[in-house]
């Protein structure tokens, strides 16, 4: 239907809750996904009247989710006390505690730009252009980050799954 205002937020929530949850489970692990989920949709609710009808709701909400995961990683890095090996943890390179095992743990260990690009592209299923908007870089840089991140994962894991 021709819309002047966005559709009811409940329907927006119904439509995107699974994509956002799946993305966050990959990005921060199931244990921490709920906090980020709540914060993502709180932010989306506040900004919702400004969403132009016809814009890509999914990319918009996953961009918000991405920002919340960045906040999450930053907060974790600040909480960590640097001491020897923990310096890596303080720098935000520590993979979040998770129960899924190898693949996503290694994604969490990527440098922030590559981690963001890989998660948004492959757990969020955004296009490179949408990833670029979310990360605030050019599409070329987004492609490069995703490519390098995947390359690193393949080297780390040494298998053909990726």
């Amino acid at each position: 239907m021709l819309r002047v205002t966005p559709r009811p937020f409940q329907r927006f929530l119904d439509a995107h809750r699974e994509d956002v949850w799946r993305y966050l489970a990959a990005a921060v692990g199931r244990h921490d996904a709920d906090d980020c989920f709540q914060e993502t949709f709180m932010a989306a609710l506040r900004a919702y009247p400004d969403l132009r009808p016809g814009s890509n709701e999914r990319a918009w909400v996953l961009t918000i989710a991405h920002r919340k995961t960045v906040d999450h990683f930053r907060a974790r890095a600040r909480r960590a006390v640097p001491a020897g090996d923990d310096l890596l943890e303080a720098a935000g390179f520590d993979p979040p505690a998770r129960d899924e095992g190898g693949l996503w743990a290694r994604v969490g260990a990527l440098p922030p730009k590559q981690r963001g690009a890989v998660l948004l592209r492959y757990a969020g299923d955004l296009t490179h252009a949408e990833v670029a908007l979310a990360l605030g870089c050019t599409e070329e840089a987004a492609r490069r980050s995703a490519h390098e991140g995947l390359k690193r994962l393949r080297e780390d894991l040494g298998d053909a799954r990726v």
Partner: protein
């Protein structure tokens, strides 16, 4: 695509969404309520009850929510707990335990004249009726029976604002946006007809 690699239970996402709806503060909260006169969609704002819609007379829940999104705010969430007072008072009314509603009303969906008509209508006591002509006079528009009828037909909160208590001079039922069978049923709840 790596998406399928993520362990994912849709029930987790659904539960997270329910937790969100309970804690968030939307502009409009709604719930679907069953009554002896059919399924209603009740919606409140911080100011009060803004809409009480017969589900089957308004195109269904989605159509009702769409119109609320356009006319009040798109920040709408299903939050049954916020409609507890509405649900309780409706139950009491249909059980014969309540003769007037204590719910604050949000008049956003009415025109100025509509508000006058509906406020006058709210003064008709439980179990009694008035005519369109009488109501028009009370609303300050003595020759405006038709406009009064239209304003009643546009009542966004039927049952609570008792437009079912307005009849034709001579006792004819007149009209009712939710269907005349509902008007009769509500009058019967109140011991009329």
């Amino acid at each position: 695509m790596l998406v399928s690699e993520v362990e994912f239970d849709p029930a987790d996402a659904a539960a997270a969404a329910v937790r969100f709806a309970v804690r968030a503060e939307p502009d409009v909260a709604y719930a679907v309520i069953g009554t002896p006169v059919g399924t209603l969609v009740a919606a409140t704002t911080t100011r009060g009850l803004v809409r009480l819609a017969y589900e089957d007379d308004n195109g269904g829940v989605d159509a009702i929510l769409d119109r609320l999104a356009q006319r009040v705010s798109p920040r709408i969430l299903e939050a049954p707990a916020r409609l507890d007072a509405v649900r309780r008072e409706l139950e009491e009314y249909f059980a014969g335990a309540r003769t007037s509603f204590d719910l604050p009303i949000d008049w956003t969906l009415t025109s100025r004249f509509g508000r006058e008509v509906l406020r006058a209508c709210s003064a008709i006591p439980f179990g009694e009726t008035a005519t369109y002509a009488q109501l028009a006079t009370l609303a300050g528009s003595p020759n405006g029976s038709r406009a009064t009828g239209n304003a009643l037909g546009a009542n966004p909160v039927p049952i609570v604002v008792p437009c079912h208590r307005v009849l034709r001079t001579g006792g004819g039922l007149g009209g009712y946006t939710g269907g005349l069978h509902r008007k009769e049923a509500l009058l019967a709840v109140e011991g009329r007809r």
